[in-house]
Structure formats: structure tokens, C-alpha cells
Symmetry: C2
Subunit: 271 residues, 2 copies
Amino acid sequence: MSQLYFKSSPTCEYCALSRNCTENINNTSAMQNVQVLTHKIYHKGDTLFCAGDAFNALYIMRSGSAKASATTIEADEQIVDFYFPGDLLGTDGFAQKQHAHNVSFLETSSVCYISVNSVNALLTHSELGRQQLLSNMSQNTLNQQQQLMNVHKMTSIQRLTGFLLDLSHRLAQRGLSSQQFTLSMTRIDIANYLGMAIETVSRLLTSMQQQRLIQVQRRHITLVNIPEMRKICLSDLLGQTEGESDGMQHAMLSPTTDYPLSSIGGEGRFY
Amino acid sequence: MSQLYFKSSPTCEYCALSRNCTENINNTSAMQNVQVLTHKIYHKGDTLFCAGDAFNALYIMRSGSAKASATTIEADEQIVDFYFPGDLLGTDGFAQKQHAHNVSFLETSSVCYISVNSVNALLTHSELGRQQLLSNMSQNTLNQQQQLMNVHKMTSIQRLTGFLLDLSHRLAQRGLSSQQFTLSMTRIDIANYLGMAIETVSRLLTSMQQQRLIQVQRRHITLVNIPEMRKICLSDLLGQTEGESDGMQHAMLSPTTDYPLSSIGGEGRFY
DNA sequence: CGTGTACTTGAAAAGGTTCAAAGAGTGTGG
DNA sequence: CCACACTCTTTGAACCTTTTCAAGTACACG
């Protein structure tokens, strides 16, 4: 029926379907059945969809950020993912033809809307589209498994450090600073996502600041010693390196963001 | 090119692609480009594929059981899933075009082999096939998230109880007894999967037996008081109900396996 | 019948949570 | 412009669940 087409925008180059986009734009014969995607602005606290809502569309973040959460029977929430520009959203709906998550925005955000009809058309007609969707969904599962593994095998310091590095990496992929950023989520969100008490998050951030690993001021974070943070992720050596933090902090002056590269439309997580 | 076709077998009715199977069999015109799937026998400890192996095929368990594990950088393993007859396997390969897991068998097992070509053909030509695959993969992610949520919100007693109920439920769906079964995995596997020490698993099983919730003898498990086990999953009341277990154990005489129903090809987990 | 692997059990230790209280930034209305 | 209410955040101390370490038991296989 129709192929997907995104109006060009600064965000598009990071979009989960950008390669597909480009393919369509370059393929003039395909231009005839192109469907211009609509996008919409949401504000902090707005919900994109709730668990149980009919599965009508997939979404792509254009700007801003969002969180997806599931709800337990006892009605407490579990945040399962955060989304940033370019991320594909809503594939939780394929399982039961209704959404399984609540997605809400952490700040003013803009999202593209892709109706299920468009998705079906894409799957029917575009080999690349199929690949991208399957890859993305497969990667989602792997990311969740990685997350599970982290909870099982890593201490809370390692998890929090990994979380910050992951954020840094994801932002860097989108052309933003990998060393300085503003958290769009609260401590409560972070704690919930990482499966710890918010007091623990707070204590650990303070501790990391004291060790000159990060600089933290409310939501504003600066990663001061990324190499050291990476080491911590691999083996928890906090507590052993108490006194000698002064000799370390200068190593960060060469801000080589040499993260392992991966395509946006189904990227792995970095720890 | 070709559609998928499974030789009829007792297992097929529980297969992840059975509806698709039936569709093909009933559609005589589709029979011309049918591809008979091959299946192969594996033994305990054999590996189906390893992380890094080229992604050549999907697999469906016909009999037996298997486990999928990921490996951390520190080389310790994390079991991410167990598989039983009818389960679809190998979709971890879509993300990077190579497998991300190691899959090995827990007992003598038989699996169907579906080459990626067949999968592509299925996706191209069968709307139902697309639906099933996407649903299955979406459900995989949801299951992993559920698992993550369990680790964050539930005590170890709740997780282990939930694990046993989940096994019971999955076996029941396959026409086996939901009350008595033999674990094909070791305590080590269970502990690894649930993210606890094997000593904890051992202690909890003993404790549950003392409370007349289960009967356990090495790998052989009998669920004695399923209703009570369900309650424990919802709210951890072990420790409070120490002394009065005698009045409870008779409630299980009506073994109504009234689990919430769901289709095999993308089922949710039951806790 | 011995050896190895899987499993169980006990006691001490650790990591993280919970409870309690206080500090800091934000917005509202007088 | 300040005071008040509010939410988000930090910090301290006691507590608790689960882990770790250390033996010991039991079943399976040659």
C-alpha cells in the first residue's frame, strides 16, 4: 500500500527507521505511495498510551524523552525503558494486540505516528523494513535480558554507573554531549528502573561525586572520570579506591567518546 | 517461495506456528510450495547454537527442554529462558544477524529447523505468519520485563513459587500434569535463572515442603497446595503462616487448573 | 564400592532497605 | 516580595533478607 516517509528534520538522521526513510526518498518510484507521517507534541506528564489501550500504531520519538512502565497486580509500577529521540516505541502491542505498557513523557516531546496499517504495508513491501523491525524487537529483548543480568550480577554502584554510562552513550549517538547532560527523570524513576531504593540512588550519587567520578547538582550531571566509571562497571572497586581519587580526575581531559558503534534502529546497550 | 509445513505429530498441536501450519495444510493451493521442515534429535548437554554463531535459522522445540543463556564480560552465565515443546527459539539472532545466546539441551530433545529463507518467505507471504512472529517476539520482551519486575518487587520465596507455578502452567498447556513434574534443570540453573544463590533455592524448597506447599524429592516436584502458592506470589505471607499449615493442605483436592488461557504461539507468563 | 556431582544445612557477614527527619528548590497567593 | 505548601532530595541509624563460607549428605555412574 504505502511506504513510510518522514519529513526531513534534524532528528530524522537518528531515527529508528531512517535507513528505510532514505531508501524511500531515493527510490522515486516508491514515492507515489508514500505516506507522510504525522507528528504531535506532548508535554511533561502526558501519556502516549496506557496498558490495555488498543494497539493502533507505533511511534518514534523525535525530541524529548519518555518512560515506559508496566504495572504489577499490587498496582506498583515498574519502569521498563526510557526513550530518546530516534527510538521506536509501541512494539509491546504486537503480543496481545493491545499495549502492555504505560508510556508517559518526561518533558515536552514530539513523536511520529505510524499506524498499524502503515506498519503492515511496510512489512509486506519492504525487506529492509522487516529487517529493521525484527532487529529492533529482537534487540529490545536482548536489552531487557542485559538489564536482568545486571540486576543479578552487579552491585548497585555498578548498576547506577552503568546507567549513567548508558545514558551518556545514547545521548552521544544522538549528537549530544556525552559528558554533560540533564536527567529528564527523577531519582524515583531511576531507582525504580534500577530496582533499588531512592535513598540508595541518592547515597551512591553523593559517593560518586566525592570520588570525583561525577559532578551532580540536582538533575544536572557531569561525568568527570568516564574511564574509571567503566572500570567500576566491570568490577566493583568502589570502597577500595577511597583515598586516591585526586590522581585520577585529570585523565578525563581527553574526552574520547570511543563507544562501540551500533546502528540506531536496534542498538545494543553499552555498559 | 515456500510456506512452512510441519509433519503431523503429537507435538504439533502445541507448536508456536501451529495455526500457520493448519492454515497451510487446509489451503491446498499452498501445498505446492510447501517445505517439509526437518527435525533433529539432540541429547542432554548438546548445544543448538552459541553466541556469535551465524543466524541461519529459527527452531521449534518438539520434545524435551532447553535453556538459553547469555554470557557476561566476566564470563559468568545468565540463563534467560527455558524452552519446552512448542516454543519458538532463536529470534535473538535478528538483532545482529548472529545469535546472542547459547542454547543447550537439558535432556534428550527434538527440534524443528526453519531456515531464515523459510522465515523470510513466511513473512513475505503469510499475514498470519507475520502476526505470529511479531507477537511471539513482542511477548518475549514482555516476559523478560515481567522477570525483571519479579526480581525488583518480589522476595525470593515469591520468585521461586512463581517459577514453579509458571512451569506447572506451561506444562499444563502442553497436556502434561500441572501438579507433578520432573525438573529438567538443576538447582544451579534455577538459582541462576532466578538470580539467587543455590543455597537459597535449596533452603526455600525445604521450607516450602515443611509447610506442605510442595513435595520435593530431588528433581521430582509435586505441587501440593497451588492456591496457597498463588497467594504467596501475590503477597509474601511465608513466615506469618508458620504454625497453621495443617488446616490448609486439604484445599488442593480439587485440582482445578483454571489458569488464564493464552495461545501457545506467544503466551504470557503466569504467576 | 569408591568417586564425583548435585544437593542440603548452619552460622557469620554484607549489601541494601526501611524508617525517620531534615534540607533545597519551585510555585502560589496574600 | 515574602511566606507557605509542595515535591524532590539528602543523610543517618537500625534492621533484614540474602549471600558467602564451610561442612556434610545422598544419589548416580563406572
